[in-house]
Structures are given as C-alpha cells and as structure tokens.
Amino acid sequence: MANKYKRNLDLIAADLDDDLVVLDVEQGKYFSLNPISKRIWEILEEEKSKDELVTILLDEYDVSSEECNRDVEIHLKELKKMKLIH
C-alpha cells in the first residue's frame, strides 16, 4: 500500500501569496516555503499518497510526469525532514 502524507496540522502558517511562512511553536522554528512546497503543503491538508499528489500537480503545472515525480519526491523528503508533514 502506498505511503500517505499529511501536513502537520499543529503548525501555524502565514500565507504571503507566493510564499508561505510556517511556525512550529514546539520546535521554536520558522520555515519559509517556496511556491511549490507551499502548494504541496496546501494539498496535504487531506491525506494523499505521492501518486495522488503528482496527479494533482500535473494538472496545475506544465511539467513532464518524470520531472514532477522527481520534484515531488524531493519536496516530500524535505518537508518530512522539517517535520512539516507526517
């Protein structure tokens, strides 16, 4: 079964149009998300698998499937490392 991802709902965020700034009060850390990470963060309000995420993004961005898969993998890894998603 594919892994599902969901954003950490305990975090506080400020939407600045292109960017998103996120605060993890418990960690005492700020994170600044670029537009792609921000979009992934928004989609992951509901639990999604990586494939579901890629499907949504392919619809929104003019990129190849291969490129999208690769970028989503990188962003998910980064967001997980920052504990912004589970």
Partner: protein, 347 residues
Amino acid sequence: MLLKEKIPTIYHTFLTDFLDLEIPNEDIATCSSCTLCKSDKSPYLDIKCCNYFPQMPNFLLGGILKENEFEFGKKQIKSIIKSKVGTTPYGILPGKKFTLRQNEVLKKKELFNTKQENADQKCPYYDHGRCSVWKYRESLCVTFYCSSIGGKNGDDFWAKLNGFLKLVEQKLSQYALLKLNWDSTLLEVKELKTESFDFENLQSKVNKEKFNNLWQDWAGKEEELYLKSYSLIQELSREEFISIMGLDYEIYKLAIFKLAETFNANRYPEFLRLNPKVIFEPQNNGKLKLRVDEQIVTIDLVFLPFIKKFNGTNNTVHVFHLAFKVLLSLNPVVDKLVKAKMLEKQL
C-alpha cells in the same frame, strides 16, 4: 488619540497635565482583535498577552472591591487574599512560585510561548477574553503593546509612561499606609518586588507568623485596608498628589512629553515601500544582508517574504498583522530598514 483615553480615570484628577497629550493610535496592537491571535492555532488564543501577574497596589484593589461591578475580579482578589500568597499591605504581588516560573519563561529567546506556558502564567484577572479589573488596571497593563506603530520610539514612550505610573502606584500605596498610621520604620520606600517579602516560600506555603508581622494590626482585615487605601487616595487633591510625587513628577513629565514628540514624528507611515535600490545577499547562516549604497542591514531570512510585502500598496498594519499570524514582530526589522532608508514612506 489623547492620552486620557489610556490613563485610568482614578488618576485623571492628578494627571491633568497629561490628559490632552496627543499620541498616535496603536493600530497594530489591537486588544479587541488581538494581534497575537491572528491564527486560530496561536498559543495565545486563550490568553492574549495576559500572561503576566499584575502588581496591584492597595488603593487600586480597594477601588475594585468597592465597585458594584467587576464580580470576577473581586472574586479573584478575595481568593488571593484568602490564600495570602503575594498579599501585602502595599498590594497584591505575584507569588514566589509564579515569579520563578515567569523568570524561566522570560529567559527564552523566542517571542512566543507554548500554549501550556501561557496557561501556567495566565493573569488571575483574565476572564474569557476580557480584563475583569480594567478600570483599575496597573501600570504595565495600561502601557503594554506587543507592537507599537512607532517602533522603538513608541516603545520608549510607553516604557517611560509605565515607569511613571509605577512610581505613582508605589508612592500612593505608601502614602495610604502612612495615613493609616503604619509604623514608619517598617514602611518600604523602594520599589516593591516579590523578592522583598519572605512570608511565603517557593511552594506558596505561607508562614503565618511572618505574614501577621507584615500586616501588623491589619492581619485578617486585608480587604478593609485596601478599601480604606482607596478612600484616602480618592480624597487627595492634585496639589497633595504633586507634593507626594516631588521632583520625580517634573522630571517624568518633561521626559514623557519629549518622548511623545518623537513618537508622533516617527509613527510608521500608512504605506511603506522597499527602496528599489536594495540588493539582497542571502548568507549561509540563515541570515540576509540588505545593501543600499554604503548601508548594510542584516536580518533573519524568515523576514524576507514579509519585507517584500511593503510594496507601497499594502497597508503597513496589514503587513504587520500577516507577520503576527506566525508570531513574528516586524518592529525591530522595520526600525532598522527605515533608519537605513531601505524602507521609505510611499508618496
């Protein structure tokens, strides 16, 4: 706004010099729509900025006890008196246990506390989003703003006013005790702090003998003392007040007026814009250098998205509120950038 809108009415007879002093409206820090509560996940939602135990002087406590309203505030005061924790003839101070916890929290570098820290430090007079002693609030509660529309100039003004009101509270509480025939050799003349008293320990256990020694003949009649203190202050004329305050009144008055002038002159403009000549130089350590001609300002990178919002069309208060969604105060950064002419008034 006029300063009289901020100063509690109990002081209006005494502080006539100050009442019509004009100062900028503090539009960033709005209590009714709390600036620290812009996110529904803010750890300040249940408390706003009221994670502070007020140091209420005897006469203010008497005012609350005398009024027909302030039921919750009165209940809290009576409960504190019953416990004896922090309960002195000068007024009610934070207990030692609370103060210890407060000092630990204040050592933190971050602007924000966790939800639990806030819950532990909640003001006893905070009642479901409202202050239950507002009319008789103490100096810090009168003058505190989480973010001033005047930046450091605003902070300096409010800090000076706080110092003045604190001195007023101290002198009037001492005056009341003197009039109640307190033993002058035992009357404290310096600023009162929780540490000044030794009748309770860090576990909030009160030594009854020491408590009674402190209260002298008034032990068991604490409420009565507070009420009498209030009556004595109510009867004071302005001339008597000025005499009690002495030279300090004149010194503070001059300083407050001067700082008000600077505050008014340096209020943040309604619209700010980033100087188009600014060059951004991200550093490896999470910092960002901004450079214009010979001027260099270094800020944390996290501020960049907010600084970019100062584009001449976004209202200054709006950008500050955006930052407060993630509990970021833009004041120190905006002050630096305005001084370096990297942020300018949009003409």
